[in-house]
Amino acid sequence: MSQDLQRPLELGEVLSFAATAAVMLSSTLFFPEYFWLFILLALVEGISTRFRTERVLSLNRIFFAFILILLGAEALGLDALGMILETVVVIAIMDLLFLLRRTRARSRADFISIISRRLNSYLFTLFPAAIFSVGLTYLGTVTIGASIGPANAILGLGLASFIVFLIILFVSTRPRETLK
């Protein structure tokens, strides 16, 4: 632990902290009444970066992302489209920030390559996810909602999403170990 603390921070760790703190502090523009919470989260981020407490840092960021989406729904009163877009943007930002933290690129070319590959991946993961979500919501609330009622359509859509999620979780979290 002490040996790890003596080692200076890597560039990726510093950049990740700076970007996270910037995102946290800029969130006060949207939610000025909760500025103290974001400052507190930025402080925790700084301390956990300095002392390399990975668990605290991860929990802090996850909490921040969740709070952001919760406040988006409650304080800003975002509609379905707004919520979908906010969720996608928050996932992209958090994913990039975590990636930045783990990156130990020794050259600018490597760094740009890693980041650009991740950004490219959003074209076939997050972007279609946002489009499908908007489409499904439209289908659920306007087309199907007209026959069974919007409240029931939302409930049905949510339940269907939850079942799909459980299936994905079951399939994807099975560790596949091979020993060469």
Binding site: Q3, A65, F165, I168, K180
Partner: protein
Amino acid sequence: MASPSAARKTLTSAKVSVLASFAAISFALGLLFRDALIFAGIPVVIYLALVSLVRAPGEIEVTRSNEKSQFYENDSTKVRLRTTNLGNQSIALVMIEDQLPVELSNGSSSASFSFSLKPGETRDCFYMIKAEVFGLYVLGPIRTRCEDAAGLNIVKSIIEETAPIVVLPKTTERLTHFKISPRKTKPWPGEIVASRVGLGIDNYSIRQYMPGDSFRRINWRASAKTAGDDLLLNEQTAELGADTIIIVDARPASNLISHDGESLVKDSLRAAISLSDKLLRDRNRVGLVTIGLETSRLPPGYGRRQYNRLVLSLIKVRAGGLFTFENIPSYLKYFYPHLAQVIMVSPLLDSEAFIASGEIARSGYELLVLSPNPIDYSSERDEAQKKKRTLRIARELASIVRQNNLAHVRESGAIVLDWRKGESLDFMLSKNIRANSRARAMRRSRF
């Protein structure tokens, strides 16, 4: 290079669990409060579904090569990690980390790298290692982590490729004036002036010329003074080698660290390296017995190869272990009954060390005890603490006890040298051994 064995594990990132939990919570909360939060889970579920279609990254091969596998302390060397993508798809993120011992990681840089790899691409990464302390270290194993473009499918592996690194002590003092003069010698040529006729430099006696003797050795002046026609010849004293053994005490009791971080055991090891170098240069056979964590026993041997063996054994020694001094006198008696000289490097801190050294000397071996002064390695921090009355008295008492104990060992016939920290080893050895030899010669002439 042979392909190193690797334990490969394919798994999904913790991100999946976090996102899935988020989707469930947002759905539950949205359902509870009947608001737009219910929609936050939908893109997450679709995102996870799409990401599960992405294939896991392929296999990579990592090999290590060192610029130098042997270098001196405070020097540095470059290490190369060569990574090759063996699969037919590109890997968005490859992270490799070489496990370094604490003594080799210089603090300013780490041996971890991140990059992307195209199919079949090979990438070389370099890092420097710097050794602050001499010893035998091992680099590796290498940990790798490959991620797909989305960062959800991860392949982790540990490549069991290790590389030994030998860090030699840089500042071992080269002894020039130190010489041993044991009574028992061996028949091979060396630097010990023996009290018998042989090939050497110093004159021993004059005898009558015999046919076959070299003309160059005839003492013409002495021959001219003889009454007859007899020719007289100079005879020289033999210069011979001897069997020696060095015993190094690295028991936990002897492991004192001074306030400036200098270790008594490390200084003892440096002294042992200097001594073995000098003894081997003087064409003696040198063996080694170390008592510490990496205990080793090397039989006496000659030359540079033996020196390398001794140094390798000495740099491996770490303070610690459960071995005691008790068996050393019987070990010497059993395996090396005709040793000429035993050199023991020990701070003589406990009764066990005193008893063992006395026993060795009484067994008929010529014992030289090089004893680094443990009081110099006490943990006083600054000048103010040094001037404290209680500490001063404690130091003086400890010094008296030590001198008394050393005098007891001397009575058993051993030469005991109290080596103060910072004192030149060569100067101290030559000064004390000369004085001891004179005292011994005087004692012999008296009887």
